[in-house]
Symmetry: C2
Subunit: 298 residues, 2 copies
Protein backbone atom coordinates (compact mmCIF):
# COMPACT_ATOMS: atom_id res chain seq x y z
CA UNK A 1 0.00 0.00 0.00
CA UNK A 2 1.26 3.42 -0.93
CA UNK A 3 2.26 6.33 1.25
CA UNK A 4 -0.37 9.03 0.85
CA UNK A 5 1.41 12.30 0.22
CA UNK A 6 -0.27 14.83 2.48
CA UNK A 7 -0.20 18.00 0.38
CA UNK A 8 -2.28 19.84 2.92
CA UNK A 9 0.17 19.18 5.75
CA UNK A 10 3.21 20.02 3.62
CA UNK A 11 1.53 23.22 2.41
CA UNK A 12 0.89 24.13 6.06
CA UNK A 13 4.56 23.68 6.90
CA UNK A 14 5.55 25.92 3.99
CA UNK A 15 2.99 28.52 5.00
CA UNK A 16 4.37 28.48 8.53
CA UNK A 17 7.88 29.09 7.14
CA UNK A 18 6.55 31.93 4.97
CA UNK A 19 4.76 33.43 7.97
CA UNK A 20 7.94 33.48 10.04
CA UNK A 21 9.85 34.98 7.13
CA UNK A 22 7.25 37.73 6.65
CA UNK A 23 7.51 38.58 10.36
CA UNK A 24 11.29 38.79 10.16
CA UNK A 25 11.12 41.00 7.06
CA UNK A 26 8.65 43.32 8.71
CA UNK A 27 10.79 43.64 11.83
CA UNK A 28 13.91 44.37 9.82
CA UNK A 29 12.55 46.54 7.00
CA UNK A 30 9.32 47.93 8.44
CA UNK A 31 7.16 46.66 5.60
CA UNK A 32 5.52 43.48 4.39
CA UNK A 33 5.10 41.81 0.98
CA UNK A 34 1.89 42.68 -0.87
CA UNK A 35 0.03 40.68 -3.48
CA UNK A 36 -2.53 42.20 -5.85
CA UNK A 37 -5.02 39.74 -7.32
CA UNK A 38 -7.17 40.95 -10.22
CA UNK A 39 -10.44 39.26 -11.07
CA UNK A 40 -12.46 40.30 -14.12
CA UNK A 41 -16.09 39.20 -14.11
CA UNK A 42 -18.02 36.75 -11.96
CA UNK A 43 -16.77 33.25 -12.82
CA UNK A 44 -17.81 31.32 -9.66
CA UNK A 45 -14.75 29.03 -9.66
CA UNK A 46 -12.46 32.03 -10.09
CA UNK A 47 -14.21 33.83 -7.23
CA UNK A 48 -13.46 30.88 -4.96
CA UNK A 49 -9.79 30.83 -6.02
CA UNK A 50 -9.39 34.57 -5.49
CA UNK A 51 -11.03 34.44 -2.06
CA UNK A 52 -8.77 31.57 -1.16
CA UNK A 53 -5.66 33.49 -2.20
CA UNK A 54 -6.75 36.42 -0.04
CA UNK A 55 -7.43 34.20 2.97
CA UNK A 56 -4.10 32.40 2.68
CA UNK A 57 -2.16 35.63 2.14
CA UNK A 58 -3.66 37.12 5.27
CA UNK A 59 -2.90 33.99 7.30
CA UNK A 60 0.83 34.43 6.65
CA UNK A 61 0.83 38.22 7.02
CA UNK A 62 1.09 39.14 3.32
CA UNK A 63 -0.88 42.26 2.42
CA UNK A 64 -3.66 41.22 0.09
CA UNK A 65 -5.22 43.48 -2.52
CA UNK A 66 -8.30 42.15 -4.27
CA UNK A 67 -9.21 44.10 -7.38
CA UNK A 68 -12.61 43.02 -8.65
CA UNK A 69 -13.48 44.36 -12.07
CA UNK A 70 -16.65 44.38 -14.09
CA UNK A 71 -17.07 41.71 -16.76
CA UNK A 72 -17.10 44.43 -19.43
CA UNK A 73 -13.71 45.85 -18.48
CA UNK A 74 -11.81 46.58 -21.68
CA UNK A 75 -8.37 45.35 -22.68
CA UNK A 76 -7.09 48.91 -22.42
CA UNK A 77 -8.54 49.48 -18.94
CA UNK A 78 -6.91 46.29 -17.72
CA UNK A 79 -3.58 47.24 -19.31
CA UNK A 80 -3.74 50.66 -17.66
CA UNK A 81 -4.39 49.08 -14.26
CA UNK A 82 -1.47 46.69 -14.70
CA UNK A 83 0.74 49.62 -15.66
CA UNK A 84 -0.22 51.39 -12.44
CA UNK A 85 0.46 48.28 -10.34
CA UNK A 86 3.80 47.77 -12.10
CA UNK A 87 4.80 51.28 -11.00
CA UNK A 88 3.42 51.01 -7.46
CA UNK A 89 6.22 50.24 -4.99
CA UNK A 90 3.68 49.04 -2.46
CA UNK A 91 2.70 46.08 -4.68
CA UNK A 92 5.19 43.23 -5.00
CA UNK A 93 3.20 40.56 -6.78
CA UNK A 94 0.55 40.92 -9.52
CA UNK A 95 -1.69 37.99 -10.37
CA UNK A 96 -4.44 38.13 -12.99
CA UNK A 97 -6.90 35.34 -12.34
CA UNK A 98 -7.43 33.24 -15.48
CA UNK A 99 -9.47 32.60 -17.55
CA UNK A 100 -10.28 36.16 -18.63
CA UNK A 101 -13.51 37.04 -20.49
CA UNK A 102 -13.24 36.14 -24.17
CA UNK A 103 -13.01 39.74 -25.40
CA UNK A 104 -9.67 40.14 -23.62
CA UNK A 105 -6.38 38.88 -25.09
CA UNK A 106 -4.83 36.89 -22.23
CA UNK A 107 -1.32 36.74 -23.69
CA UNK A 108 -1.18 40.50 -24.07
CA UNK A 109 -2.30 40.98 -20.47
CA UNK A 110 0.23 38.52 -19.07
CA UNK A 111 3.00 40.07 -21.17
CA UNK A 112 2.17 43.46 -19.65
CA UNK A 113 2.95 42.39 -16.09
CA UNK A 114 6.42 43.44 -15.00
CA UNK A 115 8.40 40.14 -14.92
CA UNK A 116 9.76 40.98 -11.43
CA UNK A 117 6.15 41.10 -10.14
CA UNK A 118 4.97 38.05 -12.12
CA UNK A 119 4.40 35.71 -9.16
CA UNK A 120 2.37 33.31 -11.32
CA UNK A 121 5.47 32.80 -13.50
CA UNK A 122 3.52 32.96 -16.76
CA UNK A 123 5.35 35.89 -18.40
CA UNK A 124 7.51 34.66 -21.33
CA UNK A 125 10.61 36.11 -19.67
CA UNK A 126 10.05 33.87 -16.64
CA UNK A 127 9.18 30.87 -18.81
CA UNK A 128 12.33 31.48 -20.85
CA UNK A 129 14.54 31.82 -17.77
CA UNK A 130 13.06 28.61 -16.37
CA UNK A 131 14.17 26.79 -19.54
CA UNK A 132 17.62 28.35 -19.58
CA UNK A 133 18.13 27.61 -15.88
CA UNK A 134 18.31 31.23 -14.70
CA UNK A 135 16.69 32.42 -11.49
CA UNK A 136 12.99 33.17 -12.14
CA UNK A 137 9.47 32.83 -10.79
CA UNK A 138 8.48 29.17 -11.16
CA UNK A 139 4.76 28.70 -11.93
CA UNK A 140 3.03 27.69 -8.71
CA UNK A 141 1.54 24.31 -9.66
CA UNK A 142 4.69 22.77 -11.18
CA UNK A 143 6.68 24.31 -8.31
CA UNK A 144 4.33 22.58 -5.86
CA UNK A 145 4.65 19.27 -7.72
CA UNK A 146 8.43 19.51 -7.56
CA UNK A 147 8.30 20.19 -3.83
CA UNK A 148 6.13 17.11 -3.24
CA UNK A 149 8.42 14.99 -5.42
CA UNK A 150 11.69 15.98 -3.72
CA UNK A 151 10.18 15.50 -0.27
CA UNK A 152 8.97 12.02 -1.23
CA UNK A 153 12.02 10.88 -3.21
CA UNK A 154 15.13 12.63 -1.89
CA UNK A 155 17.57 11.29 -4.52
CA UNK A 156 15.91 11.97 -7.85
CA UNK A 157 19.01 12.30 -10.01
CA UNK A 158 18.61 10.11 -13.10
CA UNK A 159 15.02 9.08 -12.31
CA UNK A 160 12.57 8.92 -15.20
CA UNK A 161 9.70 11.36 -14.82
CA UNK A 162 6.79 10.89 -17.20
CA UNK A 163 4.41 13.84 -17.49
CA UNK A 164 0.99 13.31 -19.04
CA UNK A 165 -0.35 16.62 -20.37
CA UNK A 166 1.39 19.55 -22.04
CA UNK A 167 -0.45 22.62 -20.80
CA UNK A 168 1.37 25.93 -20.46
CA UNK A 169 0.57 26.08 -16.76
CA UNK A 170 1.59 22.56 -15.68
CA UNK A 171 3.02 20.04 -18.16
CA UNK A 172 5.41 22.18 -20.15
CA UNK A 173 6.90 24.20 -17.27
CA UNK A 174 7.23 21.06 -15.12
CA UNK A 175 9.14 19.31 -17.91
CA UNK A 176 11.51 22.26 -18.17
CA UNK A 177 11.92 22.38 -14.40
CA UNK A 178 12.71 18.69 -13.93
CA UNK A 179 15.26 18.41 -16.75
CA UNK A 180 17.55 21.05 -15.17
CA UNK A 181 20.91 20.00 -13.79
CA UNK A 182 20.41 20.62 -10.07
CA UNK A 183 19.62 18.69 -6.90
CA UNK A 184 15.88 19.23 -7.15
CA UNK A 185 15.70 17.90 -10.72
CA UNK A 186 18.18 16.17 -13.06
CA UNK A 187 15.55 13.71 -14.25
CA UNK A 188 15.09 12.03 -17.61
CA UNK A 189 11.88 13.69 -18.77
CA UNK A 190 9.17 12.32 -21.05
CA UNK A 191 6.08 14.34 -22.01
CA UNK A 192 3.07 12.59 -23.53
CA UNK A 193 -0.32 14.04 -24.49
CA UNK A 194 -3.41 13.74 -26.68
CA UNK A 195 -1.38 12.65 -29.73
CA UNK A 196 0.00 9.63 -27.84
CA UNK A 197 -1.59 6.38 -28.99
CA UNK A 198 -0.52 4.19 -26.07
CA UNK A 199 -0.16 6.34 -22.96
CA UNK A 200 0.42 3.26 -20.81
CA UNK A 201 3.58 2.36 -22.73
CA UNK A 202 5.13 5.55 -21.36
CA UNK A 203 3.50 5.75 -17.93
CA UNK A 204 4.62 2.20 -17.08
CA UNK A 205 8.24 3.39 -17.41
CA UNK A 206 7.82 6.21 -14.91
CA UNK A 207 9.71 6.30 -11.63
CA UNK A 208 7.77 9.52 -11.11
CA UNK A 209 4.41 9.91 -12.84
CA UNK A 210 2.70 13.29 -13.02
CA UNK A 211 -0.74 13.50 -14.56
CA UNK A 212 -2.25 16.87 -15.52
CA UNK A 213 -4.93 16.21 -18.08
CA UNK A 214 -8.35 16.88 -16.56
CA UNK A 215 -9.89 13.48 -17.34
CA UNK A 216 -11.36 11.67 -14.36
CA UNK A 217 -9.72 8.36 -13.41
CA UNK A 218 -7.85 7.95 -16.70
CA UNK A 219 -4.72 6.41 -15.14
CA UNK A 220 -5.44 2.85 -14.03
CA UNK A 221 -3.37 0.35 -12.05
CA UNK A 222 -2.03 -1.44 -15.14
CA UNK A 223 -0.51 1.85 -16.34
CA UNK A 224 1.71 2.37 -13.27
CA UNK A 225 5.04 0.75 -12.42
CA UNK A 226 5.31 -0.87 -9.01
CA UNK A 227 7.04 1.53 -6.64
CA UNK A 228 6.37 4.71 -8.63
CA UNK A 229 5.70 8.10 -7.06
CA UNK A 230 2.40 9.36 -8.48
CA UNK A 231 1.44 13.06 -8.51
CA UNK A 232 -2.15 13.72 -9.57
CA UNK A 233 -2.77 17.30 -10.69
CA UNK A 234 -6.27 16.69 -12.02
CA UNK A 235 -9.38 17.98 -10.26
CA UNK A 236 -12.58 16.62 -11.80
CA UNK A 237 -16.11 16.77 -10.46
CA UNK A 238 -18.06 13.58 -11.20
CA UNK A 239 -21.33 12.01 -10.10
CA UNK A 240 -20.67 10.12 -6.90
CA UNK A 241 -21.54 6.44 -7.54
CA UNK A 242 -22.01 5.87 -3.81
CA UNK A 243 -24.33 8.84 -3.27
CA UNK A 244 -26.86 9.07 -6.09
CA UNK A 245 -27.65 12.68 -6.93
CA UNK A 246 -24.42 13.91 -5.35
CA UNK A 247 -21.08 14.80 -6.93
CA UNK A 248 -17.52 14.41 -5.73
CA UNK A 249 -14.00 15.51 -6.67
CA UNK A 250 -11.59 12.99 -8.15
CA UNK A 251 -8.22 13.26 -9.85
CA UNK A 252 -6.92 11.98 -13.19
CA UNK A 253 -5.61 8.87 -11.41
CA UNK A 254 -7.86 6.04 -10.26
CA UNK A 255 -6.71 6.42 -6.68
CA UNK A 256 -8.15 3.25 -5.10
CA UNK A 257 -6.38 0.88 -7.44
CA UNK A 258 -3.17 2.80 -8.20
CA UNK A 259 -2.72 3.09 -4.43
CA UNK A 260 -2.05 -0.66 -4.45
CA UNK A 261 1.02 -0.47 -6.70
CA UNK A 262 2.53 2.97 -6.17
CA UNK A 263 5.21 3.75 -3.58
CA UNK A 264 3.52 7.08 -2.86
CA UNK A 265 0.54 8.96 -4.25
CA UNK A 266 -1.19 12.32 -3.83
CA UNK A 267 -4.90 12.32 -3.00
CA UNK A 268 -7.51 14.57 -4.66
CA UNK A 269 -8.43 16.82 -2.95
CA UNK A 270 -5.58 17.48 -0.50
CA UNK A 271 -2.58 16.75 -2.72
CA UNK A 272 -1.30 19.23 -5.27
CA UNK A 273 -4.08 21.79 -4.75
CA UNK A 274 -2.96 23.22 -1.39
CA UNK A 275 0.65 23.31 -2.63
CA UNK A 276 -0.17 25.68 -5.48
CA UNK A 277 -1.23 28.42 -3.12
CA UNK A 278 1.67 27.82 -0.72
CA UNK A 279 4.11 28.31 -3.60
CA UNK A 280 2.31 31.50 -4.63
CA UNK A 281 2.97 32.88 -1.15
CA UNK A 282 6.64 31.86 -1.42
CA UNK A 283 6.86 33.61 -4.80
CA UNK A 284 5.34 36.77 -3.34
CA UNK A 285 8.00 36.90 -0.63
CA UNK A 286 10.64 36.35 -3.30
CA UNK A 287 9.21 39.25 -5.33
CA UNK A 288 9.35 41.48 -2.24
CA UNK A 289 13.02 40.59 -1.71
CA UNK A 290 13.96 41.10 -5.37
CA UNK A 291 12.31 44.52 -5.43
CA UNK A 292 13.95 45.60 -2.20
CA UNK A 293 17.40 44.21 -3.05
CA UNK A 294 17.28 41.73 -0.19
CA UNK A 295 19.27 38.52 -0.74
CA UNK A 296 16.93 35.62 -1.61
CA UNK A 297 18.43 33.40 1.10
CA UNK A 298 18.20 36.01 3.84
CA UNK B 1 20.84 0.82 -45.72
CA UNK B 2 19.66 4.22 -44.62
CA UNK B 3 18.74 7.26 -46.64
CA UNK B 4 21.47 9.85 -46.12
CA UNK B 5 19.77 13.16 -45.32
CA UNK B 6 21.53 15.74 -47.46
CA UNK B 7 21.54 18.80 -45.21
CA UNK B 8 23.69 20.69 -47.65
CA UNK B 9 21.21 20.26 -50.51
CA UNK B 10 18.19 21.09 -48.33
CA UNK B 11 19.98 24.16 -46.98
CA UNK B 12 20.66 25.24 -50.58
CA UNK B 13 16.97 24.94 -51.42
CA UNK B 14 16.06 27.07 -48.42
CA UNK B 15 18.71 29.63 -49.29
CA UNK B 16 17.33 29.82 -52.84
CA UNK B 17 13.84 30.47 -51.40
CA UNK B 18 15.25 33.16 -49.10
CA UNK B 19 17.10 34.74 -52.02
CA UNK B 20 13.92 35.02 -54.09
CA UNK B 21 12.07 36.44 -51.11
CA UNK B 22 14.74 39.07 -50.49
CA UNK B 23 14.53 40.11 -54.16
CA UNK B 24 10.75 40.45 -53.96
CA UNK B 25 10.99 42.47 -50.76
CA UNK B 26 13.55 44.79 -52.28
CA UNK B 27 11.42 45.36 -55.38
CA UNK B 28 8.34 46.09 -53.34
CA UNK B 29 9.77 48.05 -50.41
CA UNK B 30 13.03 49.40 -51.79
CA UNK B 31 15.12 47.92 -49.00
CA UNK B 32 16.66 44.63 -47.95
CA UNK B 33 17.01 42.79 -44.64
CA UNK B 34 20.24 43.44 -42.75
CA UNK B 35 22.03 41.25 -40.23
CA UNK B 36 24.64 42.56 -37.79
CA UNK B 37 27.06 39.96 -36.44
CA UNK B 38 29.25 40.94 -33.51
CA UNK B 39 32.47 39.12 -32.75
CA UNK B 40 34.53 39.95 -29.66
CA UNK B 41 38.13 38.74 -29.72
CA UNK B 42 39.96 36.33 -32.01
CA UNK B 43 38.62 32.85 -31.32
CA UNK B 44 39.60 31.06 -34.57
CA UNK B 45 36.47 28.86 -34.69
CA UNK B 46 34.25 31.92 -34.10
CA UNK B 47 36.08 33.78 -36.87
CA UNK B 48 35.22 30.98 -39.29
CA UNK B 49 31.55 30.99 -38.21
CA UNK B 50 31.26 34.76 -38.54
CA UNK B 51 32.89 34.75 -41.99
CA UNK B 52 30.55 31.98 -43.03
CA UNK B 53 27.50 33.96 -41.89
CA UNK B 54 28.68 36.97 -43.89
CA UNK B 55 29.31 34.88 -47.01
CA UNK B 56 25.90 33.17 -46.80
CA UNK B 57 24.07 36.43 -46.10
CA UNK B 58 25.62 38.03 -49.16
CA UNK B 59 24.75 35.03 -51.33
CA UNK B 60 21.04 35.55 -50.65
CA UNK B 61 21.17 39.35 -50.84
CA UNK B 62 20.94 40.10 -47.11
CA UNK B 63 23.01 43.11 -46.05
CA UNK B 64 25.73 41.85 -43.77
CA UNK B 65 27.38 43.93 -41.06
CA UNK B 66 30.42 42.42 -39.39
CA UNK B 67 31.40 44.18 -36.20
CA UNK B 68 34.77 42.93 -34.98
CA UNK B 69 35.68 44.08 -31.49
CA UNK B 70 38.85 43.90 -29.50
CA UNK B 71 39.18 41.07 -26.95
CA UNK B 72 39.32 43.67 -24.16
CA UNK B 73 35.96 45.24 -25.03
CA UNK B 74 34.09 45.86 -21.79
CA UNK B 75 30.61 44.70 -20.85
CA UNK B 76 29.45 48.31 -20.94
CA UNK B 77 30.91 48.99 -24.38
CA UNK B 78 29.17 45.93 -25.77
CA UNK B 79 25.87 46.90 -24.11
CA UNK B 80 26.15 50.39 -25.58
CA UNK B 81 26.74 48.97 -29.06
CA UNK B 82 23.73 46.65 -28.74
CA UNK B 83 21.61 49.59 -27.62
CA UNK B 84 22.64 51.49 -30.76
CA UNK B 85 21.87 48.52 -33.02
CA UNK B 86 18.50 48.02 -31.27
CA UNK B 87 17.62 51.62 -32.20
CA UNK B 88 18.98 51.49 -35.75
CA UNK B 89 16.18 50.93 -38.25
CA UNK B 90 18.67 49.75 -40.84
CA UNK B 91 19.55 46.67 -38.77
CA UNK B 92 16.96 43.88 -38.58
CA UNK B 93 18.89 41.06 -36.93
CA UNK B 94 21.53 41.19 -34.19
CA UNK B 95 23.68 38.18 -33.48
CA UNK B 96 26.43 38.09 -30.87
CA UNK B 97 28.79 35.26 -31.66
CA UNK B 98 29.28 33.00 -28.63
CA UNK B 99 31.29 32.19 -26.60
CA UNK B 100 32.22 35.66 -25.34
CA UNK B 101 35.47 36.35 -23.45
CA UNK B 102 35.17 35.27 -19.82
CA UNK B 103 35.07 38.83 -18.40
CA UNK B 104 31.73 39.40 -20.16
CA UNK B 105 28.41 38.18 -18.75
CA UNK B 106 26.80 36.38 -21.69
CA UNK B 107 23.28 36.28 -20.25
CA UNK B 108 23.26 40.01 -19.68
CA UNK B 109 24.40 40.63 -23.25
CA UNK B 110 21.78 38.32 -24.77
CA UNK B 111 19.07 39.86 -22.58
CA UNK B 112 20.01 43.30 -23.93
CA UNK B 113 19.18 42.41 -27.54
CA UNK B 114 15.73 43.64 -28.58
CA UNK B 115 13.66 40.41 -28.81
CA UNK B 116 12.33 41.45 -32.25
CA UNK B 117 15.93 41.53 -33.54
CA UNK B 118 17.03 38.35 -31.72
CA UNK B 119 17.53 36.15 -34.81
CA UNK B 120 19.47 33.58 -32.77
CA UNK B 121 16.36 33.05 -30.61
CA UNK B 122 18.32 32.99 -27.34
CA UNK B 123 16.59 35.90 -25.55
CA UNK B 124 14.39 34.59 -22.69
CA UNK B 125 11.33 36.21 -24.28
CA UNK B 126 11.82 34.13 -27.40
CA UNK B 127 12.59 30.99 -25.39
CA UNK B 128 9.45 31.58 -23.34
CA UNK B 129 7.26 32.14 -26.39
CA UNK B 130 8.65 28.97 -27.93
CA UNK B 131 7.49 27.03 -24.87
CA UNK B 132 4.06 28.69 -24.75
CA UNK B 133 3.55 28.17 -28.48
CA UNK B 134 3.49 31.84 -29.46
CA UNK B 135 5.14 33.14 -32.60
CA UNK B 136 8.86 33.74 -31.93
CA UNK B 137 12.36 33.34 -33.29
CA UNK B 138 13.23 29.66 -33.11
CA UNK B 139 16.93 29.03 -32.37
CA UNK B 140 18.63 28.12 -35.64
CA UNK B 141 20.02 24.65 -34.88
CA UNK B 142 16.81 23.14 -33.41
CA UNK B 143 14.87 24.86 -36.21
CA UNK B 144 17.16 23.21 -38.75
CA UNK B 145 16.75 19.81 -37.03
CA UNK B 146 12.97 20.18 -37.17
CA UNK B 147 13.13 21.04 -40.88
CA UNK B 148 15.20 17.92 -41.62
CA UNK B 149 12.84 15.77 -39.56
CA UNK B 150 9.60 16.93 -41.19
CA UNK B 151 11.09 16.59 -44.66
CA UNK B 152 12.20 13.04 -43.90
CA UNK B 153 9.12 11.90 -41.95
CA UNK B 154 6.06 13.79 -43.17
CA UNK B 155 3.61 12.38 -40.61
CA UNK B 156 5.28 12.86 -37.26
CA UNK B 157 2.19 13.18 -35.07
CA UNK B 158 2.54 10.82 -32.11
CA UNK B 159 6.08 9.73 -32.95
CA UNK B 160 8.52 9.34 -30.07
CA UNK B 161 11.48 11.71 -30.32
CA UNK B 162 14.37 11.04 -27.97
CA UNK B 163 16.84 13.89 -27.54
CA UNK B 164 20.24 13.19 -26.02
CA UNK B 165 21.67 16.38 -24.54
CA UNK B 166 20.02 19.28 -22.71
CA UNK B 167 21.96 22.34 -23.83
CA UNK B 168 20.24 25.72 -23.99
CA UNK B 169 21.05 26.04 -27.68
CA UNK B 170 19.92 22.61 -28.93
CA UNK B 171 18.41 20.00 -26.61
CA UNK B 172 16.08 22.12 -24.49
CA UNK B 173 14.66 24.33 -27.27
CA UNK B 174 14.24 21.32 -29.55
CA UNK B 175 12.26 19.48 -26.86
CA UNK B 176 9.99 22.49 -26.44
CA UNK B 177 9.57 22.81 -30.20
CA UNK B 178 8.68 19.17 -30.86
CA UNK B 179 6.12 18.84 -28.05
CA UNK B 180 3.91 21.60 -29.48
CA UNK B 181 0.53 20.73 -30.92
CA UNK B 182 1.05 21.52 -34.60
CA UNK B 183 1.78 19.74 -37.87
CA UNK B 184 5.53 20.14 -37.58
CA UNK B 185 5.65 18.63 -34.09
CA UNK B 186 3.13 16.85 -31.84
CA UNK B 187 5.70 14.25 -30.77
CA UNK B 188 6.10 12.42 -27.50
CA UNK B 189 9.37 13.90 -26.26
CA UNK B 190 12.03 12.34 -24.06
CA UNK B 191 15.17 14.21 -23.01
CA UNK B 192 18.13 12.32 -21.58
CA UNK B 193 21.54 13.60 -20.56
CA UNK B 194 24.63 13.11 -18.39
CA UNK B 195 22.59 11.93 -15.39
CA UNK B 196 21.11 9.04 -17.42
CA UNK B 197 22.60 5.70 -16.43
CA UNK B 198 21.48 3.68 -19.46
CA UNK B 199 21.18 6.01 -22.45
CA UNK B 200 20.52 3.04 -24.76
CA UNK B 201 17.33 2.15 -22.89
CA UNK B 202 15.86 5.45 -24.08
CA UNK B 203 17.50 5.78 -27.51
CA UNK B 204 16.28 2.32 -28.52
CA UNK B 205 12.70 3.58 -28.12
CA UNK B 206 13.18 6.51 -30.50
CA UNK B 207 11.30 6.82 -33.77
CA UNK B 208 13.34 10.00 -34.12
CA UNK B 209 16.71 10.20 -32.38
CA UNK B 210 18.52 13.52 -32.04
CA UNK B 211 21.97 13.55 -30.49
CA UNK B 212 23.59 16.80 -29.38
CA UNK B 213 26.24 15.96 -26.86
CA UNK B 214 29.68 16.60 -28.34
CA UNK B 215 31.12 13.13 -27.75
CA UNK B 216 32.52 11.42 -30.82
CA UNK B 217 30.78 8.21 -31.93
CA UNK B 218 28.90 7.69 -28.64
CA UNK B 219 25.74 6.32 -30.28
CA UNK B 220 26.36 2.81 -31.57
CA UNK B 221 24.20 0.47 -33.67
CA UNK B 222 22.81 -1.43 -30.68
CA UNK B 223 21.39 1.84 -29.30
CA UNK B 224 19.20 2.57 -32.33
CA UNK B 225 15.82 1.10 -33.26
CA UNK B 226 15.50 -0.35 -36.76
CA UNK B 227 13.84 2.23 -38.99
CA UNK B 228 14.60 5.28 -36.86
CA UNK B 229 15.37 8.71 -38.25
CA UNK B 230 18.71 9.81 -36.76
CA UNK B 231 19.77 13.46 -36.56
CA UNK B 232 23.37 13.97 -35.48
CA UNK B 233 24.10 17.47 -34.19
CA UNK B 234 27.60 16.70 -32.89
CA UNK B 235 30.73 17.97 -34.60
CA UNK B 236 33.90 16.47 -33.14
CA UNK B 237 37.43 16.57 -34.48
CA UNK B 238 39.30 13.31 -33.91
CA UNK B 239 42.52 11.70 -35.10
CA UNK B 240 41.80 9.97 -38.40
CA UNK B 241 42.58 6.26 -37.94
CA UNK B 242 43.03 5.88 -41.70
CA UNK B 243 45.42 8.81 -42.09
CA UNK B 244 47.98 8.86 -39.28
CA UNK B 245 48.86 12.39 -38.26
CA UNK B 246 45.65 13.78 -39.76
CA UNK B 247 42.35 14.65 -38.12
CA UNK B 248 38.76 14.40 -39.35
CA UNK B 249 35.27 15.55 -38.32
CA UNK B 250 32.80 13.03 -36.94
CA UNK B 251 29.43 13.32 -35.24
CA UNK B 252 28.10 11.92 -31.96
CA UNK B 253 26.70 8.94 -33.88
CA UNK B 254 28.87 6.11 -35.19
CA UNK B 255 27.71 6.70 -38.74
CA UNK B 256 29.08 3.59 -40.49
CA UNK B 257 27.24 1.14 -38.24
CA UNK B 258 24.07 3.11 -37.40
CA UNK B 259 23.65 3.62 -41.14
CA UNK B 260 22.87 -0.11 -41.32
CA UNK B 261 19.79 0.04 -39.06
CA UNK B 262 18.38 3.57 -39.42
CA UNK B 263 15.72 4.55 -41.94
CA UNK B 264 17.50 7.84 -42.49
CA UNK B 265 20.55 9.56 -41.01
CA UNK B 266 22.37 12.90 -41.27
CA UNK B 267 26.07 12.82 -42.12
CA UNK B 268 28.73 14.91 -40.36
CA UNK B 269 29.72 17.20 -41.95
CA UNK B 270 26.92 18.07 -44.37
CA UNK B 271 23.89 17.33 -42.20
CA UNK B 272 22.69 19.72 -39.51
CA UNK B 273 25.57 22.20 -39.92
CA UNK B 274 24.46 23.82 -43.20
CA UNK B 275 20.85 23.98 -41.94
CA UNK B 276 21.75 26.17 -38.97
CA UNK B 277 22.91 29.00 -41.20
CA UNK B 278 19.99 28.60 -43.62
CA UNK B 279 17.56 29.03 -40.72
CA UNK B 280 19.47 32.11 -39.53
CA UNK B 281 18.85 33.69 -42.95
CA UNK B 282 15.15 32.77 -42.73
CA UNK B 283 14.98 34.34 -39.25
CA UNK B 284 16.61 37.52 -40.56
CA UNK B 285 13.96 37.88 -43.26
CA UNK B 286 11.30 37.28 -40.62
CA UNK B 287 12.83 40.02 -38.44
CA UNK B 288 12.74 42.42 -41.40
CA UNK B 289 9.06 41.68 -41.99
CA UNK B 290 8.14 42.03 -38.30
CA UNK B 291 9.90 45.38 -38.06
CA UNK B 292 8.30 46.66 -41.25
CA UNK B 293 4.80 45.37 -40.47
CA UNK B 294 4.83 43.02 -43.45
CA UNK B 295 2.75 39.85 -43.05
CA UNK B 296 4.99 36.86 -42.33
CA UNK B 297 3.43 34.82 -45.14
CA UNK B 298 3.75 37.54 -47.75
Amino acid sequence: MAIIIDGKAIASEIKEEVKQEVEKLEQKYGKKPALAVILVGNNPASEVYVRNKKKNSEEVGINSWQILLDEHTTQQELLTLIGQLNNDNNVNGILVQLPLPSHINENEIINAIDPVKDVDGFHPVNTGKLVIGEDCFIPCTPYGCQELIVRTMPDIKGKHIVIVGRSNIVGKPLANLMVQKNNRANCIVTVCHTATKDIGYYTRQADILVVAVGKANMITKDMVKKGAVVIDVGINRINDPENPGKTKLVGDVKFDEVYEVAHAITPVPGGVGPMTIAMLLKNTVKAFKLQNNIAINE
